[in-house]
């Protein structure tokens, strides 16, 4: 049977994708940032996940203002990188896992989640930057991806409690999947950032650190944080961090934190990164 073995949390800052794409990520300037992923890059070579359920938000690329799904699941064969306004990223096309996607879609809808099923979609930096952070610049991505898209652009985003519950439903779905595969769940976005207005540039290191501290064992407490508190404390766009709770919900009760990295700033954003192994 399929099994979720680990979870990864990471910011998905577009600038870092750009730095990798122009081959600057090994320079001294960028070392303090990228070296925080050295552990994970080695670790994942051994873990060899077959599929990553990759939770992210679209940033006005696959979705415009016509239709805004709260939760969507990609069920396509593959997903091309989107042109976000300055040409598409020169990264491999992301390969889907249609069997697993449809299995999760059906199971999770029948568990009472009102997913939007997506059969054709491009993917933006929210999905491709985490792949680059973990795998650098391969010819092809070494795993398949099931994209889970969350609305964090139009208020209201789903609540933390709803995100944890969705994670748990995804866990149930994968536990009932009949192929013997190794699945990871990644939660992306955040941490602190405020991209507009007079208060642009907000960074709340203490808040972000507390979030990382509580993610392993006190995630039910994190789940109670309302979107307004994310906005107030970590910046309006910092409320993306709620997506990490889908990852956490998918890992079961017992996890072990095996790596953490935090860096300020990348452009406007605080970068957070964590690796949790599922111990149940």
């Amino acid at each position: 049977m399929a099994k979720i073995t680990a979870g990864v949390g990471t910011s998905h800052v577009p600038l870092l994708g750009r730095i990798i794409d122009i081959n600057q990520s090994k320079t001294d300037d960028w070392k303090p940032i990228f070296s925080g992923y050295d552990f994970t890059r080695e670790w994942i070579k051994n873990e060899k996940p077959d599929v990553v359920v990759l939770v992210y938000n679209d940033h006005a690329n696959a979705f415009d203002m016509t239709m805004i799904p709260t939760f969507a699941i990609g069920c396509a064969e593959s997903y091309a990188p989107a042109d976000e306004g300055y040409g598409a990223r020169p990264v491999p096309v992301v390969q889907g896992d249609q069997d697993l996607s449809w299995h999760i879609a059906q199971s999770v809808i029948q568990q009472g989640f009102d997913l939007t099923i997506i059969n054709q979609m491009e993917v933006d930096h929210g999905l491709t930057v985490p792949l680059s952070m973990m795998f650098d610049q391969p010819e092809a991505w070494p795993c398949k991806v099931v994209p889970i898209m969350v609305n964090t652009v139009v208020y209201p985003a789903p609540s933390g409690e709803r995100c944890v519950a969705l994670g748990k439903a995804i866990r149930n779905a994968i536990a009932s999947y009949d192929k013997d595969i190794n699945v990871q769940v990644w939660g992306t976005g955040g941490m602190s950032h405020q991209l507009l207005g007079a208060r642009a540039g907000i960074i709340n290191r203490d808040w972000d650190t507390a979030f990382l501290d509580k993610l392993s064992n006190d995630y039910e407490e994190l789940a109670k944080i309302p979107q307004t508190e994310y906005i107030r404390e970590t910046g309006t766009e910092g409320s993306e961090t709620v997506m990490w709770l889908i990852m956490r919900g998918a890992l079961g009760e017992n996890v072990k934190e095996i790596h953490r990295h935090y860096h300020v700033p990348i452009s406007n954003t605080a970068l957070g990164h964590i690796v949790l192994s599922a111990e149940d």
Partner: protein
Amino acid sequence: MALDKPYQDIPGTTVFDGEMARKGFHLNQFCMSLQKEENRKAFFADELGYMNQWPMSEEQKQAVIDRDLTKLISLGGNIYYLVKITMAQGMSVAHAVSMMTDMSPDEYLEMMKNGGRSPDGNRYVGEQQNG
């Protein structure tokens, strides 16, 4: 207004809620069109003519031409949509963002390098702000 807005006491930001989404629908759809290279070319060749394809307000169109991001936000623009304009002309997101603050781009970058803007003084309207 029937919408519950618990975030209204947060200073210096505009939450992109239903009210803003309604105001900015056509403005944001115009921004979205800049995903395509041929549209970016057409826009830069004739900004007003290009925008006239959408039923945007004159105020919105002028604010686009002026690259007045603060005004565009107040007119319903969403930041992820708006930066398609500035990215298409090669401006970094940090530079674009800095234009909404009272700092120059260099001052803004310097603040970020020093750990960013503290939330202290920026949580509630009426506190000392933007400090």
